[in-house]
Each structure stands twice: as C-alpha cells, then as structure tokens.
Symmetry: D2
Subunit: 396 residues, 4 copies
C-alpha cells in the first residue's frame, strides 16, 4: 500500500491512509461524519463521549487493513479497506435515534443509506479512478461478498473499533479488548472468516466486553431516557414538517440542533431540556427480574404496532392530565447477540464460539432473556404518572 | 466533602462532586460548556480532539480537590473547588479565536467574561445557598486571593488538566505528565504555593510536555491555518452585524455554525471551506531560523496596530488580484512561558524552577526566541501569492 | 497518616508509606519478599511476569489504605494497613508449589506461616513501638476480626492488587479491573463489608477478570507443566533431605535455585530442565468436556490419597520403561469461586452478588464444573506414555 | 516471515517469532538472559523493576522487524532480527557493574562477549541451518554492517525498547516514547539510517525521555550507592578468587547471589547489606553546580588510574579508622549523548538532529556539562567520613 498520509488516533496511534483513502476522506460526504457523534446523547452521562463517526470509520479501515494484510486477497484488499472506511457514510445524526426513525417510518437501514450515498455521490468515480471497482465495494457493504463478514459479521472491524473507542472515550474499564490477538487470529478458511484456536480467549474477551458495556454504556438508563426524549421530539418534528427523514443521511448534529432551536412548542421545549440536561425521570420500570412473561409479550407486541404504542402514550398522558409527549413508554429492542456465531477454527473444523465456549453460551442465554420497559415523565409530574402506571396492564 | 455524585472521566477515572458542585454543573451556564470544544478547530488535524470545556472544568475541580485535600485551608477548600469548576464559564466558543476577538475588539479576556457570568447569573445564589461566599470565588478567579495561583499560575490545575486531557484525546505521546507527583508535592509555605524538592522532576516533565505539545498540537501549522481562517471569517461576521461580540460568552459551537450557515458571501464561503476541510495553504513562512530580527520586529509592530495589519492583507490580496480575505497574514503571538517561575521549595527557601533546573532555563530561552509568521491563501492562488510575498518586506 | 516515604509503583503510581510501614518494610523478613516471584514459574510462559511478593504486598497495603480512609474505624486503620502489608510475609518461594507442599506434608497454610513469622520476629516489637497492637494485626490475618474480610475475603485487597498487577506484568488484557470504583463502593454496614449498588458492575468486572485470567495465566497449560515439574523435584529434594519444609517460609527463590544446582540426580536434572526451559509435554489430558464424571471422581479421590497418587505415577513410569519422576500426573485443584459470595448492598439489604447478578451465577456454575487432569512426560518418551495412558482407567 | 510462535509482551503486546528465532530463544545461552535483571539493583529503588534481558532482547528483535519490514533489504532482514535478538547474549549479570568490571580489568565490552558467545556456541550452527550467514550477524553486531546502526547507533532498537520497558516497569512517567512514529519514520537513504522530517518530534521526545530517565532512574542516587557497593564487593570477590571475570558472560544473577552467600568477610557482609537493603549513605557529594572545574578534572584523572583511585579509598578509610571497602568513592562516568548525532532527512539532505533541533542541542550541552562524585559510607560512620571529606582535595 502506498502510504500517502498518517493520521494520529488515540486508540490505534499512527494510521496510514493511501492516496485513494485520502481522496475519499476529503469528500464532503465523509467530512460530514466529523459532525456526527458516535454515541449520540451518551455524553449526557459520560461527558467525554464526544467522539465521532469520522475517527471510528478511519479506525475500522485501519483494523481491516491490518487483518487483510495477513492474507493474499489480491485486489480485494483495497476494496475492503474502502468499504470499512465508508461503512457509516450514510449514517444519520443522533446515533440510534436516526436508525430507529429510518426503520420505523421508511423501513430503511443506515446500511441502505450508505449504499445510496456511495452510488449517488462522487465517491463512485473516485474509486474507479484508483481502479477499485465500486460494485465490489457495494457488494462488500451489501453482505454479498465473501469478505462482507469482516465489515459486518460476528466479529467484525466495526465492533472491534467501536468497543475499544467507546471504552476509551467514556473511561469505562470494560471495553478493553485484545485487539492484537483478534487481528492476528482472524483467518480465511475455504472462503469462511474464522478465528483460529489461539484467538478463542480474545473472542470471549470481546463478547464479555460487549456484555458489560451494554448496560454500563449502550443501555445506561439515563442514556435511554435522553434517547427516548430525542426520538419523540424528532418524530414530532417530522410530523410538523420540520424534518424530512429522506434528508437524514446528509444531515449532521448541527442540522438537528438548528432544527430544534428554530422550532416552537413541544419540539423546542424538548430541545431545551436536552441542552440543559433537564431529563425526564423513570416513573415505572419492569425487566426480566419481574418474572412476568406475559408482560414482556404484551410490550413486544406493542413494538410491532407503532400506532397502538403511540396511542398508549397518549392515553397515559391524558389520564395523568398531561399533554401528549410528556409520558414516554420506552421498550428496549430485542438483543441480538450474533457474535456468538463467530466460527472458531481448531485446524480441522470450524464451530460456533457458543459451542466451544461455555461462557459465551451463558452470555448468549443471559442476553436473550433480557428485556426492559420504562415509562418516563418530567420530574414534576412523576408521582402522578407513577400512580397511573400502577395499573399499566390495564392499558395494554 | 459530601460526595453527591460520581462522574466517570477517562483521564481521572471516578470524580466525586458535592451537592453544591452538582447544582453548579446543572445550570444552563455550565451545561453550555458541553457544546464548546476545548481545542476549537484542532479536530481538523487530530480527529479525536472533540473534548469540551465541560469535562475539562470538572477535571480541573477534581485536581484542585486532590491538592487542597492535603492542606488545612478551612472553608476556602470549597470555594477553591468551585472556582476551578467555574474558571471557564465565560469562555466563548472557538477556543483561541474567541479569546483573540475579545482582546482585539473589546479589550476583554475570557477571565473577565467568567467573572461577569458568575456575577450576573443564578450561580451567585447557588454558592450562597451552600454557604460559599461568592466574593471569595470571584477573588480567587481574579487573582486576588492567596490560592489564586492554584487555578491560574505557574503550575496550576487548569494546565495540569488540559495537558493530560489534550494528550489523551489527540493521541499525542508528549503530554504525559506525572499528575500524582505534582498533586502530592504542591505545598503552601507562608502563603506561597510552592512545589517541594521531590516534585522537581515532575515540574520539569510538565514543562517539557508543554514544550513538545506546543508545536505538535497547539501551534500545529494546519491548526494555525484553520484558526486564522476562522478568525477572519468571524471578524467579517462581526463587521456585517451577524455576530455581537458581547454575546460570545453565552454562545456555543452550534451558534457559530448556525451563523456561518445562515450567512452569505465570504462568511458562508469560509464556513463551507472549514466544514469540508478545504483549507488555505501556506504561501510564505518565516520563523526564528531565518535569523532576520528586523523582520520579527516589523511583524511584532504590526500586531500592535490592527488597522495596519488589516491593510497589509488587503494590499497583498489586491496585488494578487484576489478579493479581500483571501490572503491571510498570521502572526503567532509571543510565547509566555510563565511556568518557569514556579517556585521550588527545598525545605529552606523557595526559588524559581528556572534557577534550579538547567533544562527549564533552556526551554524558557528557546521559547522566548521563537516567533513565526505565515501567509495563507487558497490552493488555487498559491503561486501568485507566493510570488508577491517574495517582496513582503516592501509591504511592511 | 504521616507520609514518611513515597514509593513509585507502576500499577498505583505514588504509594505513601508511614514511618511504621517503612520500619516494617526495612526488616529482613519483608526484604526477603523481593526475592520471591509472585507467579513462580509463570515467567516461562509470560516472560515479563517477574514481579514479586514485595511490590504486591505494598500495593495491597495501599488499596487497604484507600478503602479504610473512607471510613471511621479509629485505630484499626493502621492495624489494617499493617496486616495488608504483612499478609504474605510467611509466603514461601515457588508460589503455588510452596503452598501445595506445606498443605500436603505439614498440613499448614502460608497464612499460618505468616502468623508465625510475625509472632517470632522483631515485627511484633516494631508494631508495639508505634502503638499498633500486634494481636489486632494477628486477629485480622487470622480472619477473626471484623475487618479480616478486607484482607482475605470475597472481594479483598489481595485479589484487587494481584489481578491488576498480574495483568500489568503479563500483558494479558483481561485483568483490567475498575479499581477506582471498587475502592469507592466498599462500605461497612453493621460490621459487614459490602459493596454498594453502584459497584455491582465493578464486582462483575472483577469476577469476569478472574474468570478469564484463570485459564490464560493462572492455569495456563504450560505453567501447569512447569509447576508440576517443580513440585515433583522439590518433593524429591525433601525426601533426599536437601530441603526442610519448615524452613520454606524463610527461604527465597535464590535458595531454591541454589539447592537445585547443588543437588545431583533427578533433582539436578529437573532443575536444569526448568532453567533451559526443556519442559515435559502433555501425553494425556482430560477435562469436563469429556463428560466422564466417574473419571473426575476417581481423580478427586486420588487427590485425597497422596500415597496412591505417587504409586500411580510410579506404575505408569515403570510400564513405560521410565524412571520414577518422568511421568507426572497433574490434577488441577478444585476451584473455589468465593467472590460470588461478596455482598451487594442496595441501601436496605445485603445479598450475595451471585443472587443479584446472572453473569456471576453463571461464572460460578461454570467454574464449579471445571476439572482437568494431565499426564506429562519428556518429549522423547511422549509416544510411549501416550500409549500406556490409553488405558489410564485401568490404573485408577 | 513464518510466524512460528507468539509471545505476549506487556510493552509491545503480541510478538511473533519465526522458527529460527524460537530455536535461538530455546538455547541455554538465551534462556540464561531470563535470570539477568535488566536494571541490576535498581529494584532497590523501584520495586517493580524486575524485568530481564530476556524480554528486552525479544522486544528489540520485534522493533527491528517492524522497521525492516518497511524496507527491501533482501536476506539481511532475518540477519538483522537475529542480531537484535542476540545483541545482549554476552551480557553478564549485575547490569552496569559487569560492564564496568569487564572494561576495567579485561578491557573488554559486553559486545565483545556477545560476539564470543555466538562464535563459540551452537548458535552459529542454528543460524546456518536456517540459511542465515552467521558472519553477517556478527558483522551487524560488530558495527561493520550497513545496518549496524539499527542495533547500536544513535536511535536504535536497543534504546527504543529499553526506554519504553524501563518506564513501564519502574512506573516512571518520563520514558514514554512515540514508538509508532519512530518505527514509521526510520528510512534508509543511500545506505544511511536516517529519520524523516515527520519523525523529528518523536526523536526529540526520545531524547527528552532519556534525559529525564537518567537522573530519575539510571543515575538515581540510591541506585548509584547500591551499584557502587556491588562493584566493590565483586572486585573483592575477584581478588579473593571467588569469581573469574572470564566466566561472567555465562553467569546469571543466581550465580552472583550464591557466590556472595558462600563467601566470608567483606564480600559476605556487603551481600547481606544488599539483601536487607541496609545501604551506605552519602557522606560527601559534588557535581557541576559547585562550579569547581579543577575538582572535576582531578576526579576524571582518577578514573584513568584505577590504582590511585583504590588507594584514595584506602587512605580515606584509614583516616576514618575504618576497614578497607567501607569508604567508597563513586565517580559518575562521562555521559555520552550520541543520540544527538541521529540524522534527520528533510527529503534532500541529512543533518544531525542537534543541528536541526534547538532542544536537542541544549540537552546535549547540559548532558556534557554534567558530572558528579559521591563518597559513601555506612550510616553509623557517616559523621566521621563527612569530617574527613571536608578536606578531600588534600587527598587528590
């Protein structure tokens, strides 16, 4: 690889980018990622979590390069690094919130948006100019290429980078992963991406890291509240015509902030609450420790019926004498713990890590059994909402 | 100290805040600091440098608490921590740029702004409510208190925190300081803040760190260019009435961005350039290695006469056939290397570290001899500007 | 606390010791710990694992001081720090091996040895001289004091220090623990040592760290082999009168090495093998994955009958045509996972962490189900021993 | 490179060794390095400084491999890595002390010893077996090869590894170097080893690190005392026929310890003092701050005349009524600051870093001006020795 430029990264230290990669980084589409926080509103809980999709994308490309440098994949190497670099280029601002909005209202994922951006921008031509076939990059990002799993799979460069980076910037101790060992034990066997036996412990460490980071960071209860407030306010902005979801993939955190500040009513109110960190509080909460499987099923059914979910919130608000939007019902999405399907290669056969490792099996089961629902409301109305929620089953 | 809340910080790990401190943190004035990047545009060079004045302020309060916990200062301890927490509360967005603008056009410092914010906001009352005299806090921040030097002095908590934090978030190796040793060797002797003999090496380390961080981060040539572009664009925005400097201390990075995006002409153009990282390039450069002291003196004279400086830029631009604002003359401000006055206490007498340590004396001399001037212009006009600058002396 | 001296430690940075503590550290009994590697022969696997009981003991005292500094325990604070400092003072060289030898042949633990050393050396007087009651220190170390659990309990300063330190010196990523959070959430409630709710995640992290460190470091298969070779050679040395087990608690790594080098025959041979790292290899291996519970029970029965165990090895060796000592049967001792009994305090009641945390319950169960047996022999005889072991059940 | 084995190192994480390298590591000559502490008696000051020449040698080979992997040097790559691995294989125990003894009494360096060991052991054949010419390895280690400078030069892999490793194990903050940047900016230009412009700051950082590590660790006054005691005791042991200097390159720390313990009289006494850390104290001290250049010259003259130096110590001891060996005159050897000759390549010409960098020039000058002399004696005789030394000039 020609090494056109070096970028200093606190997680990986020196990262070398080729001339092609620098050209991609210098597009307005990629520069936009500088203005999208990796963890959205998490900085309201971990004040240093201000890192962005920009450095994460460069980090992912770096890890991809380290892995691919160990194989002979011919021209695919450059395409793979480019795919890693571009994997979040269609990501909207607001982190999870934008994903949720796209899914709910447009039935699109940010991966779809990424493909669109690549297809429709100058990125296509830049790739071609450097003899990298854009269709190979698109295939990798569409999970249709032999190497797709390195970008988005069980143990992929996206996850390796974000776990290490999120731990670094939050200061949480649990995201420490053995990057070196992971990078050095990924193998290509008969076209499958596997981890050799010597990397088993590192894979276990990665899965444990994700297991511990999930409640500590990704699903931290205060983050959930802020996220839920953000989501409701943004949905309202969409309804009021302040925001077109189709534009999300080209917007950044500044656009959203400007939209909130320019709005009136509920949207403005929620924007100010988030700026001043005057968050809603938890009025009611249930999770797997309550042992009520019927309750879980009711809420999972609700997740499939957005209309009914919205009406529930309205009813609860009305019965508390509150305006719409001041009672939020937040259902944590089903956990997918796909990493446990990562293949471990013992020199003869490849088996899922969940078969090889008892601890992974346990993490998988524990993850699968987790669910939680919270009802949030402003501090000053908490008691009232709490009272009404005593009979929440009656509303389901 | 009552420990009302713990905040996780990647530099210091667990930071405990008292109830009073949480009340201060929860004011809109303090929450604003979340939206002000510590290093302004430096993230265009070090992509992870997205940390903010918010976590820096909390970190400074933490260090202050560690130091003060070793002395018996009575009630002053709480006031000192509060002062450390609030020391940047009047800081405007844009980092150095806002300081420069205040100085040039209003002859104010961000320290003045900090005092105003405390005096005029609810912060005063919150302090009183917790029996901390606001006037003591103001005195500490005005350098009129015996302990002022801990907040802003030769070796102060501001510097300890920002060196460590800037190194952490840029990934640069040179900011590593021996925080433990510094905190443990600060002493109060006859009302003077001194460092005991055992901390000499740690002070040397701190000064070396700052010495190496300065060209690597704080005065990185690309940062200088971006800073200079920002400054010119903002000055133009002030001229065009888009921005009132008096408001700067209550604005954040989002306000500035919104202002740039809403503007037209030059301001808008420069805003887009900064967003897309299409920076000016260096057409001409001179520093202490050229040996021309007359040149240095000419530029230092120019720094004292803003009108003549502006005219110089206009003349250069005109002679290159460029519009005003497309040739920028950037003069690095005189270095102040005050840390070399830190007092080292050998058990009998306190002497400036520059007297005790040869390396510090050298760093001081080297710093003092440094100066540099750059002339920046768009890539596409670089050759023309370069030609004109061959005769830059003729313009001075 | 008076802070008489500061010691620089790579794990905890500055550690302050009082005058009393320095007096204890300066005794020949404590200085001996400099010459006892913390992890015995583990440096044959992790070359940097050369840290000693000396710095570990100082680290444990430091953590004890941090915790106790948060409570009001009156005079007990100094006794507790002294106990933490002295907790390994009777530890023999060879790490696990010496513990195993004491247990097998003298039915003593190294804790007993620690009590003897304190009672019989000048340490008693030094404690008294500084008004610390030696009997309180002895009570703490005998688990007869309210605070004993901090030194040796579910989540104790011994474990906190060694996990962090072993990870630091091996370079293994998994020992990272959230020391700050642990130290800050230990509480004394009604005389019980508990961890408050805010520390639950940190306790889980500690237990996961130990879970991952165990196979990676503590029971690494190559370490087990080296340990087993060491144990057999030392037992032979005892039989031959080259070593008195009663003296072990006053010996160091140099004494053992000198004994090996001065010996002849088997002991000398094994000593050289260990020096040159010509280790035995695994001829046969079984663990919980084989599903044969009868096998496990047979070996556990063998562990209780040292004579029969020794005869088994002799028989296996004879049938392979090898001399005694060249076939070693190594049975991993039953795991004790006592940390899962650590109490979590939710403000109202204290419950074992295994009840509160699903992941801990799983780790506990997994640990409990683990067992393993290896048969080791020299490389050159491996095939022969492998053949005989095909029928190992016949020997049990 | 075939990657036969991975070794976990706390400084570099995963280090891969080839089959040849593993064969070299597995020789008794190389395994001996496990038993030689990198920093000799420094662990009496920094308790965790127990790292050995073994892991340092492997680390140096690793850095060499990283650098050489960036060039096309044909077969020389393997020879260079082998040379880096073997560069300390003739190093005696006791660190500096053994070097000093070899120089004084045999006029040999440990580099000479390294060449002997390679020539006379099985290592020669192992190299040949893997088609690496032993004479090329010997040439590299004799500074007669184009690449010799990478192993022992201005900015070499030896120094890069030991600075980082010594900082890691002492816990001192100042040894932090930007390994990545150094490795990535070493270039081969016309057969010269140079550092490209982008690495200038990293070289400055390395030199500053060494500058700060020198007084803090390498010449720490307590280390100097312990070193001096060790040296005198060992010289006496040589005189008494307890030790043959010719054997030093095959001995380890255990041999020395055993020799001390088996000895009688002065040698035994000093051995016990070192074990129990009952060190001599400083009775008299002078360094460059005293401004007496005549004094410096007198001592430097003494360094050239070992006989006179020994007689001085005897005279001082006699006049204090002490036995020979209880007054030690310790002269710090002249500093060599060769790193300042490292070449910086600006794309057109290579110039010494001391010409390019003001800070390096200053460090060089400061280093050059440093000198110090200490007179050490047992605590109990300190006053008497102090009195006599008042007139030390009369003895010179």
């Amino acid at each position: 690889m020609d090494k056109a430029k070096v970028i200093r990264d606190p997680v990986h230290k020196d990262i070398f980018l080729s001339e092609l990669e620098m050209r991609l980084v210098d597009t307005p589409e990629f520069q936009r990622l500088r203005r999208i926080k990796q963890l959205g509103v998490t900085n309201l809980v971990y004040p240093s979590a201000n890192h962005t999709r920009f450095e994460h994308s460069i980090g992912a490309a770096h890890i991809a390069g380290r892995i691919i440098g160990r194989f002979d994949v011919g021209d695919a190497g450059e395409a793979l690094r480019a795919a890693a670099l571009l994997h979040d280029i269609g990501h909207g601002p607001l982190s999870h919130t934008s994903e949720e909005l796209l899914k709910r209202h447009l039935d699109r994922s940010h991966e779809d948006a990424t493909l669109s951006v690549i297809r429709e921008s100058g990125i296509r031509d830049i790739l071609s100019e450097y003899s990298v076939d854009p269709d190979v990059v698109l295939a990798i990002l569409s999970k249709e290429h032999m190497l797709s799993g390195l970008i988005s799979g069980e143990v992929d460069v996206d996850r390796m980078d974000y776990l290490a980076r999120d731990a670094y910037h939050t200061g949480v101790a649990y995201g420490v992963i053995d990057m070196d060992r992971l990078v050095n034990t990924v193998e290509l066997v008969d076209g499958d991406i596997v981890i050799s036996q010597g990397g088993l412990r590192a894979v276990e460490g990665l899965l444990v890291a994700r297991f511990l980071m999930t409640p500590t960071v990704y699903l931290h209860h205060t983050s959930r509240i802020a996220d839920a407030m953000f989501l409701r306010a943004t949905e309202r902005a969409v309804e009021e015509g302040l925001l077109r979801l189709e534009d999300l993939m080209r917007m950044d955190d500044f656009d959203i902030q400007a939209m909130f500040r320019a709005a009136g009513g509920y949207v403005r109110h929620m924007g100010r609450r988030l700026e001043d960190r005057r968050l809603f509080k938890t009025a009611w909460f249930a999770d797997e420790t309550c042992g009520d499987e019927g309750l879980r099923e009711s809420f999972y059914a609700l997740m499939e019926d957005l209309g009914r979910w919205a009406r529930l919130e309205v009813e609860l608000a009305e019965d508390c004498g509150l305006e719409e939007g001041f009672v939020i019902v937040d259902i944590t999405p089903r956990s997918r713990y796909e990493e446990s399907n990562a293949l471990i290669w013992d020199g003869e056969a490849a088996r899922p890590v969940s078969m090889v490792s008892p601890i992974v099996r346990i993490l998988q089961d524990t993850e699968a059994s987790k669910w939680s629902v919270g009802v949030y409301a402003p501090q000053e109305h908490l008691e009232r909402v709490r009272g009404i929620c005593g009979n929440i089953k009656g509303y389901l």
